[in-house]
Amino acid sequence: MRNQIVKKEKIASKTYSFWIYHPEIVSHYKPGQFIILRVTEKGERIPLTIVEVDREKEIFRIIFQVVGKSTRLLSKIDENEMILDILGPLGNEVRINKDVANILFVGGGIGIAPLFSKIKEFLKEKKLKGSVILGARSSENLILENEILEITRNIYITTDDGSKGKKGFVTDALRDLLNTNEDIDLVISAGPVKMMKKTVEIAKKNKIDILVSLNTLMIDGTGMCGGCRIEYDNKTRFTCVDGPVFDGYKVNFQQLIKRNNQYHSHECKIKNLEDNL
């Protein structure tokens, strides 16, 4: 049945992986695209990247972390149950210049999920050269390491607490790699906005192009509301229909950080209500 969760797995602390049956989304999917789902009749519309698809089984994969009420409700849905509403695939296919030969992927935290769709596309399907930097708060938060290892052995891991890989941040590893490896001609970055901002600054310093995969607030996901808008090259762009992948140099991150915090007090309110239950 369409929208059915055919496989559910907890893959890290508070982090779940769902494989969902949806023939149309799978057959129309292009790497970089996302879906919007809704869990209950009173629920929000939540955008999530399509991590990968299995075309034969007509299933696609999402990975999410429980960060608030909506993702908590999502995590409670069991295998074989249905997700109320799923719309997709939305947004555009990730595109790179034809002459790009060596890509450095940088993913932080749950951002490794959207990054994986690009790693799979360019390293596995298109067979380009590349390496991957993965970062997490600690080893128990790190996701998709094994899946990425099956595609490339060039993995560099950092954790904030040093429980796995090198102690430190992905940005430290990025700086080191760009200084020592002169073949890299593109960076693709996904993770917390502050991390992406930092990666763009480092790439810029090294005069290397960088793509960022943005996760803004969204409602309809079809260009109607404008809630996901960003300032890009001094113009307004919609993440849902113009993105979600953008040229990192042109994104106004300062503003994006502020806009993403717009509903912070509401999220706190819901959390307080739930904590009091």
């Binding site: 149309e24 989304i25 129309h28 809704r38 209950t40 009173k42 629920g43 929000e44 519309r45 009420k69 909506s70 109320l84 509403d85 799923i86 719309l87 997709g88 695939p89 939305l90 409602i219 309809d220 079809t222 260009g223 109607m224 509301c225 404008g226 809630g227 808008r229 960003i230 300032e231 307004t236 229909v241 106004n252 503003q255 502020k258 806009r259 717009q262 509903y263 509401h266 999220e267 309110k269 819901i270 209500l273």
Partner: protein, 445 residues
């Protein structure tokens, strides 16, 4: 004397999202109907050509069921049209009476009677399948007409709920959700099939639909916001009306946290624009307990919004300031809006359409606000053409069609705002009916 339906008192209604207009009682409806001379000139003003004198005649005789069935021959959405059509510019504008008959209120009265309906099931007779893209007023109307003629009809909707702009755009205090649900239910009973969460151009492509169906009606509306493109537009607290209204109407953010989508609130709200969307946004903001001001660049008499709605807004304590045009949004360090810089406008004679022409003066004024909502119009969304070839749009994103409502692509018709830009519900319905008639003629009914 004309009998007008009563409104709920403004001080009561600004506390909730329930309907403002209470509608007629039986006695009031009959009394109003009795004023009608049944001359029939009004029919020419109705884009879907309802036999108005015939249904009014039945109201006079208290044959409410008969009256409603007369309307439903031409219009499956009487509860919606009775509420949101600008009758004052359509049927009622043609009325020979000094005080025109309240045709819209009578139509709504009948729809609300909830008399048992006998729409009937319409089996697919001709083995022809039509796909309709979009479940707004144009999509629903063409579905109705085509189903009646024996087609198999499937309606595709991108959102999780049906109704298009009726659902995400028009607030419940003008058009309650239950009315939309009930009228769509009639279509389901007739045998029209609906698929939500299908975005044509992404989930399925137009060319794929053409392989499966004998014809397609594109009724995707005007779903992209126009915006001012002024500095500071992405400050926190600046909304396009679509977002503000979608959060409230579709996602029910005014019931947060019971509903999980939040809405950003502020003490002061400034709305830009003069159409129905601007008035709707302002009246929603008022119900969220804000002080609300509408700023419009021409004069009040030039506002395209329905006069009734402008009056409702004023009764609810919304201030309307005219001859002001926003130039710049100034925000605080935390990214939140602080104030808006407006240039004062002045009138310089009349335009061709009879409205005042305006030009900028050298004078500026700053207005402080917590929320700024832009409601300056919508244009069609072109996602439908993605991954398919052959559709042509004009420079305003409107789909090009010929005199038969057919697009530049064979077997693909179009109707509603996707053709005419943001217009009215009834205009969309009139075009949808016309498109359906052409399809029936061309593909067979």
């Amino acid at each position: 004397m004309a009998v007008n339906p009563k409104d709920r008192p403004s001080e009561e209604r600004i506390n909730d999202f329930d309907e403002v207009n209470l509608g007629y009682t039986d006695e009031e409806a009959v009394k109003e109907a009795q004023r009608c001379k049944e001359c029939g000139v009004c029919i020419k003003g109705c884009p879907v050509r309802i036999n108005i004198p015939a249904f009014i005649s039945q109201i006079k005789k208290k044959n409410f069921k008969r009256a409603l069935s007369i309307i439903e021959k031409d219009n499956i959405l009487p509860g919606i049209c009775g509420r949101v059509c600008p009758q004052e510019n359509q049927c009622e504008a043609r009325c020979i009476m000094d005080n025109p008959i309240n045709i819209g209120a009578l139509e709504r009265f009948l729809a609300d009677k909830k008399v048992p309906k006998d729409i009937g099931i319409y089996p697919s007779k001709n083995n022809k399948k039509i796909a309709i893209v979009g479940s707004g007023p144009a999509g629903l109307t063409s579905a109705f007409e085509l189903k009646k003629s024996g087609f198999e009809v499937v309606v595709y909707e991108a959102l999780h709920k049906l109704g298009g702009v009726l659902r995400y755009g028009i607030p419940n205090f003008r058009l309650p959700d239950e009315i939309i649900d009930e009228e769509i239910e009639q279509l389901k009973k007739m045998g029209v099939q609906f698929r939500t969460n299908f975005l044509i151009g992404k989930t399925l492509y137009l060319d794929e639909l053409l392989d499966k169906f004998d014809g397609i009606v594109i009724a995707t509306g005007a779903g992209l916001p126009r915006y001012l493109k002024i500095p500071g537009e992405n400050s926190i607290g600046v909304f396009f009306a679509n977002e503000f209204l979608t959060r409230i109407n579709l996602m029910k953010a005014y019931k947060f946290p019971e509903y999980h989508t939040p809405i950003y609130k502020g003490k002061k709200v400034v709305v830009i624009g003069g159409g129905n969307v601007a008035i709707d946004a302002a009246r929603v903001a008022r119900r969220l307990k804000s002080e609300v001001m509408i700023c419009y660049r021409r004069l009040e008499e030039d506002m395209p919004a329905r006069n009734e709605e402008i009056q409702h807004a004023k009764e609810e304590g919304i201030e309307i300031k005219t001859l002001l045009n926003p130039k710049k949004i100034i925000s605080k360090d935390d990214g939140k809006i602080k104030k808006v810089k407006f240039v004062k406008m002045k009138t310089v004679g009349k335009q061709q359409d009879g409205r005042n022409a305006v030009v900028e003066t050298e004078e500026y004024i700053d207005i402080e606000t917590d929320i700024f909502i832009e409601a300056i119009g919508q244009i069609p969304n072109k996602i439908i053409q993605q991954n398919s070839k052959g559709l042509e749009f004009d420079s305003w994103n409107s789909l090009k069609i010929d005199e038969n409502m057919e697009t530049t692509k064979n077997n693909v018709w179009a109707a509603g705002d996707v053709v005419s830009g943001a217009a009215t519900v009834i205009k969309a319905m009139g075009e949808a009916k016309k498109a359906a008639e052409k399809i029936i003629k061309e593909i067979g009914g």
